[in-house]
Amino acid sequence: MCNWKTGMDMMNRTLRCLFGCFAVFLSCVGGENIYAEETGVGLIGGFVGSTPAAYGAIVVNGSVSSNILSASTSLNSVALNDLGVGLVGGAHSGVYSVVSHNGVSTTVTPITPDQSASRLNYVAINSSGVGLIGGTDASLNTYVAVVSGGVATAVSNLILGSVIEGVAISDSGMGIIGGSYRISAGPLAYAALVSGGVASSNLLALDANSEILSVAINSSDVGLIGGYDTAGGAYVAIIYNGTVYPLSLSLSGSIESVAINDSGVGLIGGIGNGGAYAARLVISGTTATVTPIPGLPTGNALIYSVAIDSYGAGIIGGRDGNNTAFAALVDNLAVPTTIDTSLGSGSIIYSASINDFGFGLIGGIDGTGLAYAALVDDQGVPTRLVQHTGQITSVSLSNYASVPITISGFRLNDDFVVVSELFNVLSWNNPLPQQIASYQLLRNGTLIALLGSNATSYEDHNRLCTETDVYILNAYDALDNLLGTASITIYGK
């Protein structure tokens, strides 16, 4: 019997393969690794130098910007949304900033009020630019704040003394935090939902010696948390309507990283029975089908970071049994494709990210004291981006297109002599012919047209001669991710 989900997976794989082959072909023709298709804009962060200074950089189609930060400390976490707006968080000296990239230049704005005494371990940002940051404040108390418009508002009702190990925020503004708090018997797992600036009570009722190490939430406010439980076993649970539904993994070890997309497909990774562990989850309501990813390294291996795109393809990163960096792409059938980083012993991948263009971004250290970051194409071929002294601790690869859409327009008079009407003619370029699936055109804030991917012009008729029209063109991919936007104003007389 035909399984429609499997069928969709097969179709997605086929499309990815075709895009991948095209990219490889162009790469070969060019003779050098210049990305002929859009890779999306990425953000990488960590530290640089032996006396650590914060390091953050924008990645655009295989090119890395100079350091966008100037603080003398390290960066712990970065996040970038599909509008090119991101957050970076670190320790001290003001490395708590909103990063805004418009396809050409990058602006870094410190979060207010001053967070310089805090230590922000984790940051997350949603599609609207609302962020969630977590760590400790100047008094080393637990600190979680919602960041909107560059202003941080502390979340109340937290369990004091807890250690935040993960934050996530959905497009609706629902946040989720995870970590642990200390009791006499050891750490106790802590997870809470954040809504309206208030944290819920602890959703978990695990015994001592448990911890939540990673959290994720999708646009439907379905959450996924991972860590380890009292029995020393890996722990993963779905959070659905504020209730926790643990999944049975029958796995010793821990889940270090979790990810979930808007379709309810998840990816988890960590330490399993005798080696690295990762699995693909297909979540349905309060349950999930767990498909372990085969062929992962054994021994002292672990998966530090996982990420999943809107299509259900993922990326995992960590180290293998020989203490050498390990990373792999994971397709929709949970089949891994190892990324050949060519790194030696001592190298580690700390963070991995993937976007809907089929590109991945991995970051860590190369084992020789140098930071390592690489852009990975959809065939698993990495292109190294940095090799300065230091470390890449966190990476985020968005669906934000680096190539801006340029739009032009003018007003014409359609003259039938006895009667006439004015119309505006708009035309634009399509910088992403393989990715753009549709356009939305808005006039003065009102949607006036939904256009197909082939559209490069539009005529807007019956305009008033005295009226000024402001047009916004939004380009979307097949999953309605915003790829780019452009605007133009046509003035009336």
């Binding site: 003018f410 014409l412 008079n413 359609d414 003259d415 039938f416 002599v417 006895v418 009667v419 006439s420 009407e421 004015l422 119309f423 003619v425 008729h461 019956n462 305009r463 008033l464 001669c465």
Partner: protein, 236 residues
């Protein structure tokens, strides 16, 4: 043969188609005898006045006088008329006609010429003319035919209908108004009852079209123009 024939002399004046009775008036020579020697004396050319009536069917080619109208309505131009004239005093006649003309084209888009099927437009008009016509006639030498010229002037009522093939302006628009016309022509009476005619006519009428479509603008336009054509008529 010493007798001279009656010679025809054409005069440079408007001619009017006249009746059989008035035919030999302009080009006659008078013969008298001085002893046995004939003396020929030419009579002066005379334009005949006529008060006969006729009815006529005309066809012609019409084009707008307004350059803006010509820009848009740049094809077609068929013009048909039914006219009649009633001679009521010497060379003066009362003239009337009912006419139909049509032209079509495409909307003119300023700056960029975008001509697409949806922007096509058709205009037809029914002008009704009433005027005074002065006509003069002259008989042709060596022929029983008469040639005549006429000049007509008077008011003209226009009814105009415009059909626009566009979603963005009124698809159908009507307007009417009063203007004027001036008509000159030349006719040849083939027999005592049948004639052919060629003419040129200019007309003027300004109409204001009002748009009921949102964000479309109606304009004042000059719907008159120039018609050249010919006709076939019956004299009675």
């Amino acid at each position: 043969m010493t007798l001279k024939y009656i010679a025809s002399i054409l005069c440079f004046a408007p001619w009017i188609v006249g009746s059989e009775e008035s035919l030999p008036v302009c080009s006659e020579t008078e013969v008298s005898f001085f002893g046995s020697k004939p003396v020929v004396a030419k009579k002066a050319c005379k334009i005949e006045e006529s008060s006969k009536s006729d009815i006529e069917i005309k066809a012609g080619y019409f084009f707008f006088a307004s350059p803006r109208m010509r820009d848009v309505y740049n094809s077609g131009g068929a013009d048909v008329q039914v006219s009649g004239a009633w001679g009521f005093w010497h060379w003066l006649r009362l003239y009337g006609s009912v006419e139909y003309l049509q032209r079509s084209g495409h909307a003119h888009t300023k700056e960029v010429p975008i001509f697409i099927e949806e922007d096509s437009s058709t205009i037809w008009e029914i002008p009704i003319s009433l005027g005074l016509q002065a006509r003069f006639t002259h008989a042709l030498t060596h022929s029983s035919k008469k040639i005549s010229g006429y000049f007509t002037i008077g008011p003209k009522y226009f009814f105009a209908h415009v059909h626009n093939r566009s979603h963005y302006v009124d698809r159908s628009m009507n307007q009417n108004g009063l203007g004027g016309f001036l008509n000159v022509g030349m006719a040849v009476a083939l027999t005592s009852h049948w004639m052919v005619d060629c003419f040129g006519e200019g007309s003027y009428c300004k109409l204001h079209f009002k748009s009921s479509h949102e964000a479309a603008y109606g304009h004042n336009v000059q719907v008159g123009g120039i018609t050249f054509g010919g006709g076939f008529g019956y004299i009675f």
